[in-house]
Symmetry: C2
Subunit: 322 residues, 2 copies
């Protein structure tokens, strides 16, 4: 695993590396949402990225960073969510094996998506220890390269390409991204500091997993918490390199209740006709909840993905009325 | 009301007339859906049209066809759905009054959308007689021009511009559109016959409102039926001019169950991240239900709109498992 903190050169290299495989996603506007928010919103539409989320950028950069020799042994990760599917698809673009360790009880539809991209699933008990043991076992058995969902430097650099595309076509006063483990957040911070230092980076975080806000406030990484949020992509614990990068680049966290996130998700669906997942909508929710901070500004919002569990929708919508 | 049947020149004139106001919507592709359907699908994304549906094309053409003198008296229609909102927005682009007659019991969210575009609502009892009386009263009181949702020649010509855009960038063996009152269907038939006569036009129709299929089979217009379908945009009765045009151009109807439509809608949501309404998804459902007819072909599918009633989703999804 690459362990040095990535810099903007790494983001530029990632952009060149993934260009043949990843989509340059569009930037969407909505007059109605601008009026509602009282600012000028520029939505980076990563739900239209391959495999339905920004995660493909980092996974693709990691896969195509490998030497031919290393690549031949395949890649492995532990993620039953968007990173697992993204790595599976990225591995397929290079024609190499992908192993995904998934906990018992993971959503069947998500596992089917990972398998549909050609990855091999390895089931384990739903604990961190079991997950790490299963990953280590796959590495020993196959020699596969571990690609961590958000602490891997190649992954962080790849996620930084979304902001690179957005800032190359829009001048922004602020850029708001969701934060979970911090891969997208730290990649965005690197890119923004390098090419648009006057743009403030904000991290939208669900109240039920707000350890990034706590970590930045205390000046040390908080890792003890039990996530309780509908934003299934944002339940991970902020990674150590991610924390370091976010502090360095002075990103600011904004904490949002799930009910506000569901309301923002409905607005995005109704107004842009784009199916984004709750973990994306949290960024617009943060803008709407802190309207005075963004009044009149040009605000970028990364819609991080569109992999919604449709069978869970009735429950989700019930939350917005809570 | 314009009563002569529109021809392709009328479609071309409409295209020029609406160009300053309407979006040229994108055409979307999906490898996964192609593989599922066994053909090459080209989705015309009218959910991204202004006011969220193709209806803006016809409404805009009608509004901008009026003389300044007639326009000054405004427009009126009866529609609590997409046409009402589309006409309201079209009237606003010309800065004229719009009156919309709506039946008691109409969905509050839809009425709010019509009002948000600046139209005046006129409530009436939920019968055809009450609706027509209320329209006539508004016409007497204001001199407003009636713009019928689908029999108006200016509306039909406007709807024909969607196929014009699609066929100008894609060579198609077949073109599948939803059919309700027949505005989009007959406009599509006019355009297709004129510029791509070898392209077959198919009309996707819900089984619970399949009077177009019955009308085309009998060779006379069937108007006696009680619609029972989740496709709220397709409950209207096929119009007389629409029937004449569809027969002339030998369009063929394909009837689809609501459960297949909901399943197709979920597929479109999951695979393209586009929020389309059931009345749109019926077209993909028709292709999937008649796979052998479309095998290996280049197939255009008009996604007609994205105005989904989110509060009704749990009920909708329950249908797909029926």
């Amino acid at each position: 695993m690459a362990s040095v903190l990535p810099d903007f050169d790494a983001v530029l290299a990632a952009a060149a590396r993934i260009a043949p495989h990843a989509h340059v996603t569009p930037v969407l506007r909505s007059h109605t949402l601008d009026a509602l928010a009282g600012c000028e919103l520029h939505f980076k539409a990563e739900q239209l990225q391959r495999a339905g989320a920004f995660k493909f950028r980092g996974a693709c950069n990691a896969v195509w960073s490998l030497s031919d020799e290393d690549a031949a042994r395949g890649v492995v990760t532990h993620s039953s969510g968007n990173h697992g599917a993204a790595l599976a698809l990225a591995a397929r673009t290079r024609g190499i094996a992908c192993h995904v360790v998934v906990p018992e009880g993971a959503v069947a539809a998500k596992l089917a998506a990972i398998q549909a991209y050609g990855a091999t699933l390895h089931h384990c008990a739903p604990t961190i220890a079991a997950r790490e043991a299963a990953c280590a076992q796959v590495q020993r058995d196959t020699g596969a390269e571990l690609v961590h969902p958000y602490t891997d430097a190649r992954v962080i650099a790849g996620q930084g390409t979304a902001a690179l595309e957005l800032l190359s076509i829009a001048t922004l006063d602020a850029l708001v991204v969701p934060v979970g483990g911090g891969g997208l957040a730290s990649g965005t911070a690197i890119t923004t500091s390098a090419i648009s230092p006057s743009t403030r980076v904000f991290l939208a975080e669900p109240a039920g997993a707000a350890e990034t806000a706590a970590s930045l406030e205390r000046g040390e990484r908080v890792t003890e918490f039990v996530p309780d949020t509908i934003c299934d992509g944002l339940r991970g614990t902020l990674g150590a390199p991610n924390f370091t990068l976010l502090r360095q680049h002075r990103a600011e966290a904004l904490v949002v209740d799930d009910s506000a996130t569901v309301a923002a998700m409905r607005l995005i669906w109704q107004r842009t006709k784009q199916l984004v997942e709750p973990s994306s909508a949290v960024a617009l929710a943060a803008v709407l909840a802190h309207r005075e901070r963004f009044a009149g500004l040009r605000v970028g919002v990364v819609l991080s993905g569109g992999n919604v569990d449709l069978d869970a929708l009735p429950d989700l919508f019930a939350r917005s009325h809570a």
